[in-house]
Symmetry: C2
Subunit: 383 residues, 2 copies
Amino acid sequence: MGTIRGSREGDPSVAIIFRVVARAPSSLARAGEIITPHGVIQTPVFMPVGTQGSVKGISPDELLEMGAEMVLANTYHLYLRPGADLVRDAGGLHAFMNWHRGILTDSGGFQVASLADLRSITDDGVEFRSHIDGSRHFLTPERAVAIQEALGADIAMAFDECVRYPADRDYVRDAMRRTTEWAKRCKAAHRREDQALFGIVQGGVFPDLREQSARALADMDFPGYGIGGLSVGEPKDLMFEALEHAVAHLPEDRPRYLMGVGTPGDFIESVSRGVDMFDCVLPTRIARHGTAFTSAGRIIVRDAAYARDFSPLDPECDCRVCRSYTRAYIRHLLKAGEMLGLRLVSYHNLYFLIRVMRRIRASIIDGTFKETRQEFGDICGTK
Amino acid sequence: MGTIRGSREGDPSVAIIFRVVARAPSSLARAGEIITPHGVIQTPVFMPVGTQGSVKGISPDELLEMGAEMVLANTYHLYLRPGADLVRDAGGLHAFMNWHRGILTDSGGFQVASLADLRSITDDGVEFRSHIDGSRHFLTPERAVAIQEALGADIAMAFDECVRYPADRDYVRDAMRRTTEWAKRCKAAHRREDQALFGIVQGGVFPDLREQSARALADMDFPGYGIGGLSVGEPKDLMFEALEHAVAHLPEDRPRYLMGVGTPGDFIESVSRGVDMFDCVLPTRIARHGTAFTSAGRIIVRDAAYARDFSPLDPECDCRVCRSYTRAYIRHLLKAGEMLGLRLVSYHNLYFLIRVMRRIRASIIDGTFKETRQEFGDICGTK
């Protein structure tokens, strides 16, 4: 059972403690706990995404109620608006958002790399233009760390370069090397004792590059590791292959975070490959298109088929929305452009993924992970 | 103390009981209770507006938490979408919305009259085109009652013709007479024993027409009375004069509902003239423009002045929003287009008006209404 020393033992680079509490046989799946300055996170964990300091349509009280233990916020967005200094002066992101459980901030690397013709990347950092007002900015590893220290999340991420699929192997290798160099600079720059800094593995879909990246970062002894640059357009089998090669070379006693993934099927397949943490905008994004997760697959509740359906979004769900509202009412709200419709579907979708992850965790602890994976495969068609 | 016999005493036209519990000296202000099939409403009462079966951005749980006792829903909107039959089949509006306290539906008269060139009014009813899809509809007093019976609110309103200010006296007189005839037809058509039907006084800003209208409706013995066609563009002094002439000829032992009004200043001035019930879209509408009620007047929290203001929307407010969030955070959410910003301002604004009304009611009961009215006048500049 791996344990990372806590910050109380004097190492400023480790503000969290990770403990494995159970493992699934014949699999890399494990159930664990991450002790953070804002509570204990039970892993595997799904983290709702609060891009601009708010999980779309959902209040912190509701996140607490649905059992969220950690949320993700985006450094790029908060840096541009309202500004990291303002958040710091508000008492940090926890106080600003009124969310007093765990927060993880990404580094902004993914967003600035996505700006396409609005940015240029060098070994020094990324120059880019704001998507809001076109203003010029320069983000370096040191600056990304300083911003995240001002935001004050429990977990910060090293500045990385995320490459979309498909990409030229040489480019992916260069980006991976740059990410490794940047990780060193981030670690050297990071000061906050109450914040853990994770490195990020890159390397696209190339197993040897994933291995190189993971080894180099493992040598730097981060308290946890992100696995980035996956679920960016590549086929699932390539994603899982790359994931396996990354995990194989990361230390056993540190949490592993698969960034930006995904669906219930992705969760269980990735957990079986040793992943502990996930974030994804899917539940709130599909809600905006009137789509809800259910135990029998997704439904588009906006569809006319649900106009007179007086059953809950998911008859097997016990969330507040499913206990209180019908598909017919939610469809009416969505068709009428009422904000409450979006709120209700978003709430249910987030709850659904949190519950999926809880079920996965419970199955690791009670020894039924294999059966659970089989069931998920049947429903999700991932294997 | 006036009491209307309840439906249990066999009169199908009175499903509610109204009781006056206190009166303010030298004023027509009174504190009362309306006992409905869905709980007791303490009057004077402010009713949040749920036009399409949802108070914009706010859940029924939140309405309960903020102390709302009755909400208004719009017959015109619900008739067009999702349709009254669907709501009836869902178990009525209470079940459909998951709101188990009081509901009042307007008659649709105000909305169809507002459709301008999309409608034509005759003594028989109103022919109009849907604002959604241009489809043709014909609304009569009997149809408006049937729709409201299908919706199943605790209080339904007679079909009326609301005339905007300014308007020709002859037209206002004709519309008032039509409204009186329609009230008779509505009363004759109304069947539901668990629903009260209110008549609506019209007559524009003309005191004699208001008197005629009120007298004619009082003769019909409705269990309560709406006062419509005010706050539609006329100066405040004309509004209050018309209100006084309506109230003077309405029975003392029935609740009086001033439709579509308004602000804290309007509330206390109207209560002092004998009004018991109010509804208004203002709190959620101004929220959409980033404006919040405060004890020191309205603030536009979107303004740059609040960017670094880490105090609550209203430092004197004890609502959940003011206990949890800062102006700076709410401004950020509004600027970033985050739905939560609108939710938080809407919640606070609704709570603010409910609290204002509670304070007015308490002052009637404890004998300080006169002083409270003076204070409101100082803040609101209404007198």
